[in-house]
Symmetry: none
DNA sequence: TTCAAACCTTACAACAACTGTAAGAGTTAA
DNA sequence: TTAACTCTTACAGTTGTTGTAAGGTTTGAA
């Protein structure tokens, strides 16, 4: 079942879209208010996301970026903003297609199909610019090479990549790797960091994990697009 | 170096496009006459193809289909035809994006970047219908789950999936796994088959490897699309 | 039905990869 | 200078992978 999530605040347009898409055989879920948006979108595990840019609280652009950083997509922006710079901005932030209202249903459906097909045959890779991480398989792709990471290495990389360009707190890493319950020696994180850095070194990704003294670690470099 | 191939018969437009793209840092190759088109496109190994629909001999649609059948892409159709049915047709035949002339250079470039980025990060997954195999990472994707296979399991699966729906000879598997040089006990293949089958069982892929007595093994089921 | 070839399963041990612990060295900033 | 913080290395327990070995099961033809 192909599931489509519509993020759109105009009630009437939303109903119309939903009707069109459901006739086409899609499973549709609509979301309007922001408070629940990000979480809802993620937990809905959509095959395609249709996103309006004019949302009440957080802008569509921000949602776009947040979703992409988490490897969620594809995102089709459907908006009444027909300015080129809006389109460029949206595409730059990670939107996969950009259609302006009014949009012929057939065009919308064709584009949805396209995106879905593309993503269905594609891995969702966390993208750090000059390398990609397959968070499910714990495999790192650097250029044409690939190396598989250990469980721990993968977890740390995932956290770092998802947080770019922020710093990941040590505490957070401890929670992710060893749970917050049991006690583990502080040192274990450092050891695993050393190991990860060494692994990254071996594939040409040197000095990419910066230590933020007292706080945590941060992934740097890797020109964001 | 990102290489773009332009298939366009209008000399002036071609020159203009080439100029725009080269300023952007792309390596550009232009093609006009059809006689050499398909071969040229393929041998040029482009990162992105810009395709006009109004070509003298073979239509852009046909080129579209031919390229897609060979797994070559992405294809961005850039045309003066602004009919919806042309767009739908092109997308259906495999075009990855469709822009109408006149098109703002920045929009074109943004779309090219998008497509290139998408394809550059795309995994080539071996597809067996109801599961996919990442042959580089030795990871099997079944629905939303993924399991990593051992080296041997991965090699066998790769051989089986690639051969579908044929039978893979035992000899061939021996060559792939242990080389043809040294002697290894016949039994080792059976053992590894048992292990692979057990692994597949655990993810709901039961009875998918059929033994062809005296010949080899065969992957079955998994509705091909 | 019988039987041998073909195939399957299980157990075992060697080996490699991964992980946490421990100890000591290096670095940072007040 | 110094104490807190961080890094590095070595070691051992654990787990996963692989080939070997031994014995059981299935198949198909006589």
């Amino acid at each position: 079942m192909v599931k489509i999530v519509i993020v759109e605040d105009d009630v009437f347009l939303r109903a119309e879209l939903q009707s069109i898409l459901e006739k086409e055989g899609y499973s549709v879920e609509s979301i309007s208010s922001f408070d629940t948006t990000l979480e809802d979108i993620i937990s809905a595990a959509p095959s395609v996301i249709i996103l309006d840019l004019n949302l009440p609280k957080l802008s569509g652009f921000q949602i776009c970026r947040a979703l992409k950083a988490r490897g969620i997509g594809p995102i089709l922006v459907l908006t009444s903003r027909n300015q080129l710079r809006d389109e460029l901005h949206a595409l730059d932030l990670g939107a996969d297609d950009y259609l302006t209202k009014p949009c012929h249903p057939k065009r919308l459906i064709a584009r949805i199909q396209k995106l879905h097909h593309l993503y269905a045959n594609m891995h969702v890779l966390l993208d750090a610019g000059d390398f990609q991480l397959d968070e499910k398989a714990n495999v790192l792709y650097v250029g044409k090479n690939s190396i598989s990471l250990s469980e721990n290495e993968g977890m740390i990389m995932k956290a770092l990549v998802k947080a770019v360009p922020s710093v990941v707190k040590k505490e957070e890493l401890f929670n992710q790797l060893w749970g917050s319950s049991e006690y583990v020696d502080e040192n274990i994180l450092q050891v695993n960091m050393t190991r990860l850095r060494k692994t990254l070194d071996e594939v040409g990704l040197s000095n990419r994990i910066k230590t933020v003294r007292g706080i945590g670690y941060q992934l740097i470099g890797g020109s964001c697009r």
